[in-house]
């Protein structure tokens, strides 16, 4: 038994200590001490001007601790299907990334001695096609996204122990490939190439001005790489050699900057190795070294599942956090912040399995865990089992049809446990259309489905530069079979969660920043633009030609909104079928009310307001939520990254609706002369009728290219807000609705109606409605009140 501390009380955790971590050097930094497993996907800077935007960095030397603690590495870019680099440590990368060392406006670079690199260009070509690049050209001239799938298509990878087998298609030719170390700084590529209906050329290494030579099975450069260190036998120019290759596989001669192999058309599969290293003192020495290299193996046998590697599970006890006996209780499904893998448990998304008895939880650091033991009336001990690793900042999970889909920045991955041992063996690229760059703010968030099974997720835009690719700042729809991706709306800055409505529209949040004066909730119809001028857009779109949010949200109320969630729970009573959203900024939850002055049957809601739900603030920011069909309760998860109030790294929670009465606003309607607010319970008539118990402040924002906005007065000049007079307040006959008379009410970007009341049973009701009025209702408040009983 091992005592671990986590988000809840000290818990007894049944784990077997990982025995293989040995004498790894731990830095104390969670990002570089985490055992990511044998690979880590990210966007990496290889060299100046050479990024691997969807790079699988693979550790190829033996040893404990995963890729972060390795000494020899290969980097494969799944967009170009090229090996971007092979290098040796010490060091793996510089960890300059928002999700590693927390730095902003940086991109991570691999560090160490480069044995070989290839430029940001396709790794395969049809002969004579001169490596034509079919990726889109982004603003600024760089290439992004996958190649034309008819030319080259990434299919995914298999994990077998420490081995990572890549699967892709070149034209119609299936390829399995394994990168490995042959020791002593010698890398190998094992290629299993299927039948070919065309001659193919594959890129092995590149060096500007390298003056390539070929000689039978070997090829190389005459000049060492610039600034190559002197490592004795392992120094010198980059060279490569074929190992047991069929005769048809030949080095391409005559290209001074490249080492390339030609693989002619043919019906027979070919299998061979190519080794890449440094020449040492002579070619003869290098060839002698390669002579000992084992021949290529059949990689298909590594694609059938592998023995478990994450055998240690962690069991935790749940506990209630904060206040009890309120209308909601927040119950921590205690997250194993300490675990055998030093996994940094910053939770980014989840969905349920087995009808809600289990959950699939992804972490921003790239893991997927299975949490077992949920859905009962009482949650006791739950077991956390590591299921998958190494993914690229996953922030969305969906278990459509019982399968596990994960949104990462590079792709939507379908995870397969091929041998039923509780771990993913196959990371299938279900949809690889993402146009990824290394930009730190380009998060891919959420994963929701519509009735047809199509997937939806949102993608952040540049922090403060014009979008490089059409997917920057968008909501995306992925066909149910993963075959295509469509931008359904754009103009978003930093969305952090979305929900799909039955009619196909989408609700998505966005964050204050450049061009976005405050946080907001957007109702998104296909084809709409939402105002972030540095998102991808039509060049001539004017700055005021955009769809207004249904409400702005001032950062004092919520400094960072995340996922909207439709309530689907009978337990929630009057709030069933209503919309709520979660806050990354303060770990709270809010109810979203739509102005009842404008029926939504004919289109999107005109405007909305938010009301804080009486739920204890979670120790983390909250970013995803779903109702569990097993127990009809809301589950939420979240994390801390930056700019939030709740700083525990990650957490998973159940929000229990208790049988205690709820005393909050549940509906409102703007009138010509005020606002009618309907509550979930009866109000004390005396306090409700006292206009001094209400205040109405209004202000507006300056939407500008610079960050955020001050609050500006509406009725006067300058910074500040205005108080609107409230001469009367009238309680409805049923005691549940109040007409707050505001004769000067007017359309305004932001209002904050605060109420300090008592319920009929004497409890304090201190609530606010915070929202936007694009247009006032046309009825008098008294008329609304009379009809509302």
């Amino acid at each position: 038994m091992r005592q671990l501390t986590a988000a809840g009380p000290t818990v007894a955790v049944a784990v077997v200590l990982a025995g293989a971590v040995g004498a790894q050097e731990l830095t104390g930094n969670p990002w570089s001490d985490m055992d990511y497993g044998p690979f880590k996907v990210h966007s990496y800077i290889v060299e100046p001007g050479n990024n691997a935007n969807k790079g699988i960095a693979i550790r190829v030397d033996d040893g404990p601790g995963g890729v972060a603690k390795g000494a020899e590495f290969l980097l494969f870019d799944t967009d170009t299907l090229r090996w971007a680099a092979g290098w040796t440590g010490p060091g793996f990368m510089d960890w300059n990334s928002i999700n590693y060392n927390g730095r902003h406006v940086v991109e991570p670079a691999i560090v160490g001695d480069m044995v070989f690199t290839n430029p940001d260009a396709p790794g395969w070509s049809r002969a004579g096609n001169d490596f034509h690049d079919t990726r889109i050209t982004g603003r600024g001239g760089r290439r992004f996204g996958p190649q034309d799938p008819g030319v080259a298509r990434w299919l995914g990878h298999y994990v077998h122990g420490d081995q990572v087998v890549l699967q892709y298609r070149v034209g119609t030719t299936e390829v399995l490939e394994l990168g490995a170390s042959e020791g002593g700084g010698l890398f190998s590529r094992t290629l299993n190439i299927g039948p070919r209906n065309a001659d193919l050329v594959l890129q092995v290494a590149n060096q500007q001005g390298g003056r390539a030579w070929t000689d039978g099975e070997a090829a190389g450069f005459r000049k060492p790489r610039p600034n190559a260190p002197d490592r004795g036998e392992h120094s010198g120019p980059t060279v490569a050699a074929l190992v047991r290759a069929p005769a048809v596989v030949q080095w391409v001669e005559g290209d001074g900057d490249h080492l390339r192999l030609s693989v002619p058309a043919g019906d027979e599969p070919v299998r061979f190795k190519v080794v890449i290293g440094r020449r040492g003192r002579s070619n003869a020495g290098f060839l002698a070294q390669t002579a000992g290299v084992e021949p290529a193996v059949d990689l298909e046998r590594l694609t059938r599942g592998a023995p478990s590697r994450w055998t240690e599970t962690v069991t935790t006890e749940s506990r209630v956090l904060g206040r009890r006996n309120g209308p909601f209780e927040l119950e921590a499904i205690t997250t194993p912040l300490e675990n055998p893998y030093r996994a940094w448990m910053r939770l980014g998304g989840f969905d349920f399995l087995d009808g809600g008895k289990r959950a699939v939880v992804a972490t921003w650091m790239g893991d997927v865990w299975i949490v077992d033991g949920l859905g009962g009336e009482e949650i006791g001990a739950v077991t956390w089992k590591r299921f998958a690793t190494g993914m690229y900042e996953p922030l969305g999970v969906n278990t459509r049809g019982g399968e596990i889909f994960v949104t990462s920045r590079d792709q939507i991955t379908r995870l397969h446990d091929l041998n039923g041992d509780g771990e993913a063996d196959h990371y299938e690229a279900f949809n690889h259309d993402a146009q990824a760059s290394a930009h730190f703010h380009e998060f891919a968030v959420g994963l929701e489905t519509d009735d047809e099974g199509n997937f939806y997720y949102a993608k952040g835009a540049g922090h403060d530069f014009d979008a490089r690719v059409p997917q920057h700042g968008t909501v995306l729809r992925v066909a149910a079979d993963g075959s295509a991706t469509e931008v359904i709306a754009n103009g978003f800055r930093a969305p952090n969660g979305l929900v799909v409505n039955p009619d196909g529209s989408v609700i998505v949040t966005d964050q204050e920043g450049h061009w976005i004066p405050e946080n907001r909730i957007n109702w998104v119809e296909p084809g709409t633009f939402h105002g972030y001028m540095r998102a991808w857009r039509e060049p001539d779109r004017g700055p005021n030609d955009f769809v207004q949010p249904v409400t702005w949200i001032h950062h004092d109320v919520d400094r960072s909104p995340s996922a909207p969630v439709w309530v689907r729970s009978r337990r929630w009573g009057q709030l069933d079928a209503s919309l709520i959203y979660l806050s990354y900024g303060n770990g709270r939850m809010f109810s979203v009310l739509f102005d009842q002055a404008f029926p939504t049957t004919d289109g999107p809601p005109r405007q909305a307001a938010v009301v804080e739900l009486p739920v204890t603030a979670a120790p983390t920011g909250l970013i995803r939520g779903r109702f569990n069909p097993a127990d009809d309760h809301l589950y939420v998860c979240g994390l801390f990254a930056w700019a939030g109030d709740r700083t525990q790294p990650g957490g998973f929670y159940r929000v229990r609706r208790t049988n205690q009465p709820l005393r909050i606003p549940r509906a409102y309607e703007t009138a010509r002369d005020g606002i009618v607010v309907r509550f979930t319970s009866e109000l004390d008539p005396e306090t409700a009728a006292d206009p001094g118990n209400y205040s109405m402040r209004i202000w507006q924002y300056l939407r500008q290219a610079s960050y955020g906005s001050e609050d500006y007065r509406v009725l006067g000049e300058g910074v500040g807000d205005d108080d609107l007079a409230i001469p009367s307040a009238t309680l409805s006959a049923d005691g549940r609705a109040v007409f707050v008379e505001i004769p000067d009410i007017l359309p305004v970007q932001q209002y904050h109606l605060e109420m300090n009341l008592r319920s009929a049973d004497g409890e304090r009701v201190r609530e606010f409605i915070h929202g936007t009025i694009h247009e006032l209702g046309t009825r008098d408040g008294a008329e609304i009140l009379a009809g509302s009983d």
Binding site: P30, G102, H104, G322, D556, T620, W642, D645, P649
Partner: protein, 714 residues
């Protein structure tokens, strides 16, 4: 002997009805000596005061026991209930909304406050408030009023919520203070001694120590023509000039005198210190751009305005022409920088304005030599070249045309007693004239339009002149007293602090985001396609701090060093605007800010550390715990690099800098103190942080551990 029951006074002095309009900020503070019955009235920012033993509560009261009545209203925007707490020592009595909510209570010590027995219901809008305080018979006197409720941890009733009415009584009291300040500003005491009681000089009004600029070497610094014009009519050159008119009332004679004096000053007072770096060549576009940027960024524009906006506080002069073609502000000396300064002397002056004028209103701002040269180049360049001066204006050293007689000028310097205020090393100051209390009956000295050249002529409006006359006749003894709280308030206003700092709910008069010059400068370096620019972010973390709570926030010793410019580091190096140095009487200033909050100067820093707690604190601040280290550097150890880490203060500065009570209050609810800050709020409404594994999540104990850890940082 006590002259009356304070409670009886309170009973007859209730403020007006609920309809009373409390249109001004602050509370009215009535003060009365309990020994002599002397009274005074002023405005208090908070319902708080602190008076050290043997010091007066007001410059118009003798030291000794006193009664203080704070009166006005608490304004709230929603009916609400609060528990009021009074801390301090002495007797207190609190009335809110006309009801007594605290009967007479005697506070024995600061750590044993008294609170209202129940929450007091306040109505939306104004709620009259009256806090009556009677100091103990001897020793320090302190009182401060705070409030709290279920949603609001205890805090001083904030200045932004306190309102008062106008009253003739207060107007008279304020006019009396204004006269006192004017007399000090006019440097009357340089000639006319203030009768100080034994032991009182340390408490004498600090401004009385002020001297006019040192004129040794002035011939190397200023152009002769400008000196002549200044001598003839200082206020034609600078609207707020303190220098009186002295020369003959006959214009011809005055011009001759000015020429003679200027000749004397220029000839006899060259210091040969011309080797300093001249301004960068005006044609050097890079230097002009640098100077332009510096002017916009470091805060020059905060006081001096920019081409599109006049000086925000009307206290400094405009340095930049608003419209070269249209404006001819001949009475605005700011446009005459090139007329006034020898270029290299301007560079020296910009680096340290206090070198020749220790009491200069222009503070010292840390500038590298090259920066000063660029700034001078920008200020002196013709507008057509992108600089400040209007097109068509040309530098001139034109004089009256008279050569001037230096010897006659020297005699005039004696005659006009120049050495009383200015240092001129070729002669001694003249002997003192009659005591300041005997100066009444000379209204011509103060008011405009007089023709009596036998005295300095300040040319004030008649009402102010009359007020000064009255002051000198009745209250000149107040010049011998210092009340640090009032001194601090005067310095806040005269130092231009409110140009850059928000305070008491009033935004700063200037901010970089509002400066057209700053905008222009930043647009020069517009971000390209791949460069992220966050330079234009404006929020509380990017602006000089709000000064509302400075008096309870900062430690006295640190604050005094900081204000005096004697720290060897900048606590907020990310701010491009630079905090100027105000070296004179910074300790009194710091003490005065504390006194405004009802607090004494902070005791010496306690360096002891509980090692066990400190170790827990070190763990708590880790990047993956409370996350403090993500944004805050720990001494030499840099921040881990989270967003906002460039805008934070090194944790090594926390304990030397902050009072402990403020540290706790800030951590408990940062947004309450600094709305919009990126600082997380760690504590929930029940007083727990998210880290339940340490002290069961109790925030108070966790913060104590962090405080202990901070004590280990050097």
């Amino acid at each position: 002997m006590l002259v009356a029951s304070v409670w009886a006074v309170a009973a007859v002095a209730q403020p007006g009805s609920r309809d009373t309009v409390f249109e001004h900020r602050g509370l009215v503070l009535f003060l009365r000596s309990l020994e002599t019955g002397t009274t005074d009235t002023r405005v208090a920012r908070l319902a708080a005061l602190h008076v050290p033993r043997n010091q007066p509560a007001s410059p118009f009261l003798d030291p000794g026991p006193f009664e203080a009545i704070f009166r006005g209203a608490v304004e709230i925007d929603l009916n609400d209930s609060f528990r009021f707490t009074v801390r301090g020592n002495g007797d207190v009595h609190l009335r809110i909304g006309g009801e007594v909510v605290l009967e007479q209570e005697t506070l024995r010590a600061n750590d044993k406050p008294t609170s209202t027995a129940r929450e007091v219901r306040l109505r939306k809008g104004y709620n009259s408030i009256e806090l009556v305080y009677r100091s103990p018979p001897s020793g320090d006197a302190s009182v401060r009023l705070s409030w709290s409720n279920d949603f609001l941890p205890e805090e001083p009733v904030p200045p932004a919520a306190l309102r008062r009415t106008a009253s003739p009584e207060l107007d008279r009291a304020l006019a009396r203070r204004d006269a006192r300040r004017l007399v000090a500003d006019a440097m009357c005491a340089r000639c006319h001694p203030v009768a100080a009681a034994p032991g009182e000089p340390p408490h004498a009004m600090p401004e009385l120590a002020a001297a006019a600029p040192d004129l040794d070497g002035v011939g190397s610094r200023l152009h002769r023509g400008w000196i002549e014009q200044w001598l003839l009519d200082p206020r034609s050159v600078r609207r707020h000039a303190r220098m009186p008119r002295l020369l003959s009332t006959d214009p011809t004679e005055a011009r001759t005198q000015a020429a003679d004096l200027a000749a004397y000053l220029v000839a006899a007072h060259r210091d040969g210190d011309d080797q300093a770096a001249p301004p960068a060549t005006s044609g050097a576009a890079g230097a002009l751009a640098d100077g332009h940027r510096l002017y916009a960024e470091i805060g020059c524009a905060a006081c001096h305005g920019d081409p599109t906006s006049p000086p925000p506080l009307d206290a400094a002069h405009r340095l930049l022409a608003p419209d070269p073609a249209a404006d001819d502000e001949t009475d605005d000396p700011a446009l005459r920088l090139r007329d006034k300064w020898e270029p290299s002397a301007l560079v020296r002056y910009l680096r340290d304005p206090t070198k020749f004028d220790p009491w200069s209103r222009m503070p010292r701002v840390e500038l590298e030599a090259a920066e000063a040269a660029s700034l001078a180049a920008y200020l002196l360049a013709p507008a057509a070249a992108g600089g400040a001066a209007p097109a068509g204006a040309s530098p001139t050293t034109a004089t009256s045309g008279r050569a001037g007689d230096p010897e006659r000028g020297r005699r005039l310097a004696d005659e006009f007693r120049c050495r009383s205020c200015h240092s001129l090393s070729d002669g001694a100051p003249p002997p003192s004239a009659s005591p300041i209390g005997e100066l009444t009956g000379r209204p011509s000295t103060w008011s405009g339009g007089n023709t009596d050249a036998s005295h300095p002529r300040y040319e004030l409006d008649p009402a102010r002149a009359a007020e000064i006359e009255r002051f000198l006749g009745e209250d000149a003894s107040s010049l011998a007293r210092t009340v640090p709280a009032e001194y601090a308030e005067r310095r806040i206003r005269s130092g231009g602090c409110l140009a850059c700092h928000a305070r008491d709910g009033v935004p700063a008069a200037w901010s970089p985001s509002l400066s057209a010059t700053a905008r222009a400068a930043s647009e020069d370096s517009a971000a390209d396609d791949f460069v992220v620019s966050t330079e234009d972010e404006v929020g509380p973390d990017h602006l000089p701090p709000d000064l509302t709570l400075t008096g309870e926030k900062l430690r006295s010793d640190w604050l005094a060093l900081f204000v005096a410019g004697r720290l060897d580091h900048r606590p907020r190096p990310h701010l491009r605007v630079r905090m100027p140095a105000f070296p004179s009487r910074a300790d009194t200033f710091a003490a005065g800010l504390h006194h405004q909050h009802g607090l004494p100067a902070s005791p010496a820093l306690n360096p002891s550390v509980d090692a066990e707690l400190a170790a827990i604190g070190r763990d708590l601040i880790r990047g993956d715990r409370l996350g403090c280290h993500s944004c805050h550097a720990l001494g030499e150890e840099p921040a881990l690099g989270g967003e906002g880490s460039e805008e934070t203060i090194n944790f090594a500065l926390t304990r030397p800098r902050l009072r402990r009570a403020y540290f706790d209050r800030f951590l408990r609810d940062p947004q309450r103190i600094m709305p919009g800050s990126k600082m997380p709020q760690f504590v929930d409404e029940d007083g727990y942080t998210a880290l339940y594994d340490v002290f069961d999540g109790e925030a108070e104990r966790q913060f104590e551990a962090i405080w202990q850890y901070l004590g280990t940082l050097d």
